[in-house]
């Protein structure tokens, strides 16, 4: 019964994915869509929500079936389940807005190979209660959406001088077009990671100093 503690639904099971184990900034997972669809904030938001839905739906189903799925074929079963929900999302987005669908292109279908989803299915959902799997998936999805938005907002402001399609700076602003182009994606994500790493480094340094201070 050593699992007892991690079996409770706590605030942490949600917040863990959002911040401490943020899939993008901390675990460096699912980078392809992070860079590919974040040239505007609205695309980033749509992609984040779509991924969150797939995470939650597949997490719930896999958790419900966790005693049924034999170990040897679990990966195949997970992939089929995930692909199903991705197809559902794909058709739903087409029904909601064709413009959005055209902007996201094949990347909606590529959610299926997003390592976060299979990773969470294997490491978490297949071992936990449905409620816990659902909450954790929501947290991971929120963390992923947050990361996408971080990139999308910065890239749209710099690269198009707008936010969610609304012009921010007026006609005199010359947009840094490179930011909405592929190189901008790499550079902005690099900058965000640098910021996170720097923060982590500083906290580590500080706790080290405190320890030393206590020891001295």
């Amino acid at each position: 019964m050593g699992m007892n503690k991690s079996d409770d639904v706590t605030w942490d099971s949600f917040a863990e994915g959002l911040w401490r184990e943020n899939p993008v900034f901390v675990m460096l997972l699912g980078m392809c869509p992070v860079l590919a669809v974040t040239n505007s904030a609205i695309n980033a938001l749509a992609m984040g929500l779509a991924t969150t839905f797939v995470l939650m739906a597949s997490g719930l189903l896999i958790s419900l079936m966790r005693h049924l799925i034999p170990k040897q074929v679990r990966i195949a079963a997970f992939i089929v389940i995930i692909a199903t929900f991705v197809t559902v999302v794909d058709y739903s987005i087409q029904a909601i807005s064709l413009d959005l669908y055209n902007a996201l292109g094949a990347f909606i279908q590529l959610i299926v190979v997003n390592c976060i989803i299979l990773g969470r299915a294997e490491a978490y959902a297949s071992k936990r209660r449905p409620a816990l799997a659902l909450i954790s998936a929501l947290g991971m999805g929120a963390g992923f959406t947050f990361a996408l938005l971080c990139l999308g907002v910065v890239r749209e402001i710099l690269g198009a001088g707008a936010l969610f399609g609304f012009d921010l700076f007026g006609a005199n602003f010359e947009p840094w077009v490179v930011m909405v182009l592929p190189p901008g994606g790499f550079i902005i994500l690099g900058a965000w990671l640098l910021l996170f790493d720097w923060r982590k480094h500083r906290t580590q340094l500080r706790s080290l100093q405190e320890e030393r201070g206590r020891a001295g």
Binding site: V80, I81, V88, Y91
Partner: protein, 242 residues
């Protein structure tokens, strides 16, 4: 944990097949359900997208009729591509008068094909507007063909972009050509955007190729399109007495 590991290899093949089959059934059911549910909405969305683009490139149009143009003639057509021929969209005003014809075209741009829809005005034998449906051109450079006022002026002016057929009606009198920025001299030339010449050329190529293919087939039947489409049957009382 130990017990689970020891038990795992003992799972009979039959159980695996049943579970996998069950999952496949479930996912098949879900996917078909969603496909059936969303199909009408998606089709309606596509219709609306076509309609919006047609009304944009044919100024003054409020009604749309689809036609299939083949070497044998022009026939009314559905929305889904039927048979081999060129699908065109006739744009009509409230009284059912033909305002223009919207046609698809595609040309090779900088980073791939540029797909567009253009409005042909039979009255002036010219192209009045175009709308980009899909392209992968560089943002900020190639996509100026949509936003650049100077480029749009090639089409919006009083005479549009000339697309007149030659005397025999077999091809355009003068092929539509994209020329370097600032060197446009004739009404069938497109003044390119400086810094986005290749994308400008793609528009020229798309328009030229499509017009060369379509107009010789369409021209003999134009009268038929103008007359056939009378306003919908909602106001039959307006008919003049003899």
């Amino acid at each position: 944990m130990k017990g689970q590991d020891a038990q795992a290899p003992a799972t009979p093949a039959l159980k695996m097949l049943i579970v996998l089959g069950g999952i496949a059934m479930l996912s098949g059911f879900l996917v078909v359900l969603v496909d059936q549910l969303t199909k009408p909405i998606i089709e309606a969305n596509q219709q609306r997208a076509i309609e919006r683009a047609v009304f944009k490139v044919v100024p003054g149009a409020t009604l749309r009729r689809n036609y299939l143009v083949t070497p044998e003639g022009v026939h009314p057509a559905g929305d889904v591509g039927s048979g081999n021929g060129i699908t065109v969209y006739g744009g009509y005003d409230d009284q059912g008068r033909l305002k223009g014809i919207a046609v698809n075209g595609a040309g090779m741009g900088y980073a791939g094909l540029v797909y567009l829809l253009y409005g042909y005005d039979p009255d002036c034998a010219c192209i009045r507007r175009f709308e980009v449906l899909k392209m992968t051109e560089t943002p900020g450079l190639g996509d100026k063909i949509i936003s650049d006022a100077g480029f749009q002026a090639n089409f919006i002016g009083p005479d549009g972009l000339s697309a007149r057929l030659n005397g025999a009606g077999t091809a355009l009198e003068n092929a539509i050509l994209t020329v370097k920025h600032g060197s446009k001299q004739h009404p069938w030339e497109i003044d390119a955007i400086s810094g986005a010449t290749i994308t400008s050329k793609a528009v020229g190529k798309a328009l030229n190729q499509s017009a060369q293919n379509l107009l010789p087939l369409l021209a003999p039947h134009l009268e038929q399109l103008k007359r056939i489409d009378i306003a919908p049957a909602e106001s039959p009382t307006n008919g003049k007495g003899e």
